[in-house]
Symmetry: C2
Subunit: 151 residues, 2 copies
């Protein structure tokens, strides 16, 4: 895997931003780990089951989801020049909603079910999902620039 | 105080909705309490200090803030016909952000500081603050109807 080679020419790629978000979070020691190792917890086959038997969700999972949408927000911001902020609303029952706000625009919205299973079948699927969210958000910001610039 | 007499003729009033939100929440027994008693925890002079000495915030405070913005959302929805959803993002350090989303529009946004002090000097101030948020949100929805209708 070469995440640094992904993304569009001259653009911030989602996966590069995602790796960066993980590496700059101060919760872990990432030194000496490859990008693939950093991303592994988001890839289903590479990780241990995160859901506890009582149905509660490992806080670790919330943190990963935050990092993922933080990367979506940062990439969207880099591509549009509009400050973007993720907002997550998680319920311990395992569902939630995540949005990325650009000014007064909800650039990205996603309902999450089975939060404890948040992850992707492969790194490629992860990249595709992230890029898809960023692309949809970019289109919406370009469609409603006045709302995205509104504070 | 006569909260039921507040609000605009023929419109859902914020304070009536707020009292309703408190009364229909299943966390308390509200039977036999007046509307003023129901609202008292949001009025600073009527309540005990909610902040713990270690700086953490009483979960009770989060719940009250949720009820307040739930009432803002329900009133906005009643006045515009657009489904509105509050989203709160609280940090235990005592600050947070609350938004009310109408479709892809951030109809209401508010940064909260000193969350443990969330409250109003009087019931009148509470009503004014709520109505002001609802009015601003209504104006924005009318200004950007396409965004508010966007799913």
């Amino acid at each position: 895997m070469q995440p640094h080679g992904q993304g569009h020419e001259g653009e911030t790629s989602f996966v590069r931003e995602l790796v960066h978000q993980f590496r700059t979070s101060d919760s872990r020691a990432w030194d000496g780990k490859t990008d693939a190792e950093v991303l592994a917890p988001l890839v289903r086959r590479d990780r241990r089951r995160a859901g506890a038997e009582d149905g509660s969700v490992d806080p670790e999972v919330f943190w990963r989801i935050e990092i993922f949408f933080q990367a979506v927000a940062r990439t969207l911001e880099a591509r549009t020049g509009i400050p973007c902020a993720p907002m997550l609303r998680m319920h311990h029952e395992g569902f939630g909603r995540v949005v990325v706000l650009a000014g007064r625009l909800v650039a990205v919205t996603k309902t999450l079910r089975d939060v404890h299973r948040f992850g992707f079948d492969s790194v490629e699927a992860l990249i595709e999902a992230g890029e898809r969210l960023v692309t949809a958000g970019t289109l919406l910001i370009h469609r409603f620039p006045e709302v995205a610039h509104h504070t």
